[in-house]
Symmetry: C2
Subunit: 223 residues, 2 copies
């Protein structure tokens, strides 16, 4: 498998082309690190964007779309979607207002989404959703039964028409602004920082917080 | 001004209606807390979703869309957009795979976006962008000049067709699963947690980190 995706008409930038990458490993890492994606589709000529869970299995992106009921009604034949997965990694403070920026990574996937109908594939994908968000959880829950499997809708999108846009740098001030008496630099940001786990009110109080919950962090997903 | 937005065909849910709110203050708070939004629009019948900066000024949402070059070419007459602003507040761990969930808040704004062309409005909006992300920064930077103003594209969307979807609760397990020997509860998540500010390599090393940088947190935006 080639190390990079092939650029397409959709993923060739019209500006700031130095910020675009097609590197497969970098795209995968940005997808895998995110807890959610934003799924865009068109309904009666107008755009709809919904936050959704996702999981990557090899070169397919799966999106948990139970809540996208109006999408599902029309999708059995496949519909055009755009899935965008974004991380804000830092606030970039420049001497000038104009050169303020963000450090970020954003994967954009264009494709035809199909509904997963095969029970075996669906079962594997649901396991991948759990493992993507909560590594190690599979051994600490009741698996999905046939009725629940039927009640869950999952979309499959091939990772082909895909790119990663990113910025990761100090501020880029204009030469003539460098001597201005303003602090410039980056405030790095971390997302999905876990707090103390909150046991369910109906949980047996003698039950300790298990390791897969106590150690949860976004880093565990990529490992 | 009424305390709630009016439900519309777009914002009336087809399922899980208990999760939808039209409360103006709650919508504003979720918009103001976010560092970025996801802007969806339609190009030649297909969806495009881009991460963008935004700022709310009263009942208008402004979106910084310089990078959406292909959108701007067609938007001078106003184009249909969907702007979605999402927060993941926690991972919800249930006894069953099926009842795993997320605690989240997601504002969805449908509307016709117009390009801001009035120089005075644009100048105010650019100040609002800076203030939205970096409260107090305005006194620590060079303001925008006429050339920079011309090079910046801003969209305006009225806050009318808008709703907030949210979940904020412990897991909702099925009665028959409650006795299973699995830990259930919530892992709360915090986003945009600042690290130690990183001075620009070309910054005078004697310059101390100013208070508006040192104290930055997402909470400061709402206050």
């Amino acid at each position: 498998m080639p190390a990079s995706y092939l650029p397409t008409a959709d993923t060739t930038p019209t500006r700031k082309s130095d910020r675009v990458s097609y590197d497969r490993a970098a795209v995968h890492a940005a997808i895998d690190e995110a807890v959610m994606c934003h799924l865009g589709f068109v309904v009666e000529g107008r755009p709809v964007v919904l936050p959704q869970l996702h999981a990557r299995v090899g070169e397919h992106l799966y999106v948990h779309a139970s809540s996208a009921a109006r999408l599902m009604r029309s999708t059995r034949e496949g519909i055009a979607v755009c899935v965008t997965i974004s991380h804000i990694d830092g606030l970039v403070l420049a001497r000038s207002a104009f050169n303020h920026s963000l450090n970020y990574r954003s994967v954009i996937v264009h494709g035809l989404a199909e509904l997963v109908t095969d029970a075996e594939e669906k079962r594997k994908v649901l396991a991948a959703f759990v493992d993507a968000v909560l590594p190690g959880r599979a051994d600490h829950m009741r698996g999905v039964n046939r009725k629940e499997l039927g009640a869950t809708a999952v979309l499959r999108i091939p990772l082909e028409n895909v790119s990663l846009k990113s910025r990761s740098a100090p501020p880029g001030d204009d030469e003539e602004d460098l001597a201005l008496p303003y602090w410039a630099g980056v405030i790095p940001l971390t997302n999905s920082v876990p707090g103390t786990p909150e046991p369910a009110p109906d949980l047996d109080p003698s039950m300790a917080v298990p390791a897969h919950v106590a150690r949860w962090s976004r880093e565990t997903r990529a490992s």
